[in-house]
Amino acid sequence: MIVFDKVTKVFANGDKAIDEVSFAIEPKEFVFITGRSGAGKTTLLRLMMREFLPTTGKILVDKEDIVGLQAKKLPELRRKIGAVWQDFKLLWDRTVGENIGLTLEILGHEEKEIVKHVRQLLELVGMSNKEDLFPAQISGGELQRTVIARALASKPKILFADEPTGNLDEITAMQIMKLLKDINELGTTVLVATHNEALVEKLGKRKLTLEKGKLIVDEGTDGKK
């Protein structure tokens, strides 16, 4: 499903964010990407979304080489990956429902269909009664759930959550993790970038550990290989 083959990313200022990283993730796998802040976890997501290109190496997503991907095919790639960003990337002047519906709007769904689908997604993430609230009116955990719901709206093959529990208390963090696990059990490949080792240990899934841009650990499987 996802292949990183000797991928290196050096930014214009000379910082090496990712250094010769190679791994392969099978369909329907649940994988944690761990490491300290600045280890290169977010860079992996951004490379996968092709926000920028690697300096060297090859990245395959759903068997497609995304490094040589034409610009006009970028929207197609991004629709395959549901992303949950650390900074949420929500539109603050739109309601929770409108934010989730945005993905469906982009895909060209009809109004009625959008309303129906948004309600299903809100139910899935446990936020049925929050549809008309604005992001500023909901809690951190709810913001995270909203972003997850939006990421799932396009029925992506891959869900990449970058620090989804970063600012949450332990109970809420566990709830979010359970939600991600449920989503994985429904057939989506899930990648979770986190520095919360305790949480990773609790779930006992495959773990890729980055340190200063290098992949230093690739251990365990979630039994779905």
Partner: protein
């Protein structure tokens, strides 16, 4: 829940009403100038055609000219291929024309009889350039006392029309570029203020068209609104000045301007406005997309 592109565009415009107003005003002004110059150019073309179809060369016969001499000259001019129309005006017809022209001055009418007016041959040249040749041809003919022609009137109207067209195009181009720049600046500001939103849309997999459409639509709306307002203002101005124009142009059939002409002007302005507005926004968008 889902907003149409038009609704998103309308929301953008409502959030910064002064920018929208500035863009609409400059577009209206540009297209009003376009309306005025279009109408003036059409009017001057019509005036030119009017003068071109008037008798331009007149040969006055001596009183003793015979029917045969008149016929010979008529044949000569007709067969030369230089004339569009040849018309003999008898002494009686000349008197009738004189009476019509001076019907408000009985004193002038009393003093003139058909006998003192010369018969004449009035010729419209097929082309303005042929006027001198036609005059020369008639000058030497038997029975002709005098040949009169006024090439200057047509030449002057022709020069005036060309001048108006050139000045109109120059002024219009200046305003069109100004309007385009203003729309470009406004759309650029709009894009800059929504940079984060555009970035999110891109990451969610929005196509370029999905992102560009509301901004392009905004430029196009300014163009269409400006066109309709400018056209309305031109109509009001035309109606208001109709009595004065009728007085000034006398028998030249310029007014009223046919409905289809005004319709065509509106259609042309909408297209022109759409082009200016669209180019302005598309330039702003392509600059952003490149960055």
């Amino acid at each position: 829940m889902g907003k149409s592109k038009l609704a998103i565009t309308w929301q953008h415009m409502r959030r910064t009403p002064y920018q929208a107003l500035a863009a609409s005003v400059v577009m209206t002004l540009t297209l009003f100038i376009a309306s005025v110059f279009t109408l003036v150019t059409l009017g001057s073309e019509r005036t030119l055609r009017y003068f071109e179809t008037r008798p331009q060369v007149t040969a006055f016969f001596v009183d003793t000219a015979t029917q045969e001499q008149v016929q010979n000259l008529t044949d000569l001019v007709t067969n030369s291929g230089l004339a569009a129309e040849v018309k003999f005006v008898s002494k009686e017809e000349a008197l009738a024309i004189y009476r019509e022209q001076n019907k408000d001055d009985p004193l002038l009418l009393e003093m003139v009889t058909a006998e003192i007016l010369p018969s004449s041959l009035e010729v419209s040249a097929a082309r303005v350039e042929n006027l001198a040749q036609v005059a020369e041809l008639m000058q030497g003919a038997e029975g002709v006392e005098e040949v009169v022609y006024q090439p200057d009137v047509v030449a002057q109207v022709s020069r005036l029309t060309k001048g108006l067209r050139f000045a109109g195009m120059a002024i219009l181009s200046f305003f069109a570029v100004t309007a385009m720049l203003i729309i470009m600046i406004i759309v650029s500001m709009r894009i800059a203020s929504r940079r984060d939103e555009i970035e999110i849309l891109r990451l969610l997999g929005a196509s370029n068209w999905y992102i560009r459409a509301p901004f392009w639509l905004e430029g196009a709306i300014y163009g269409v609104v400006g066109a309709v307002l400018a056209w309305g203002a031109a109509i009001v101005m035309l109606l208001y000045s109709t009595p004065a124009l009728l007085d000034f142009f006398g028998t030249i059939p310029l007014l009223p301007v046919p409905v289809w002409v005004m319709g065509a002007v509106l259609g042309g302005e909408i297209i022109f406005g759409l082009v200016i507005g669209s180019i302005g926004s598309l330039i702003a968008l392509s600059r952003f997309m490149r960055s």
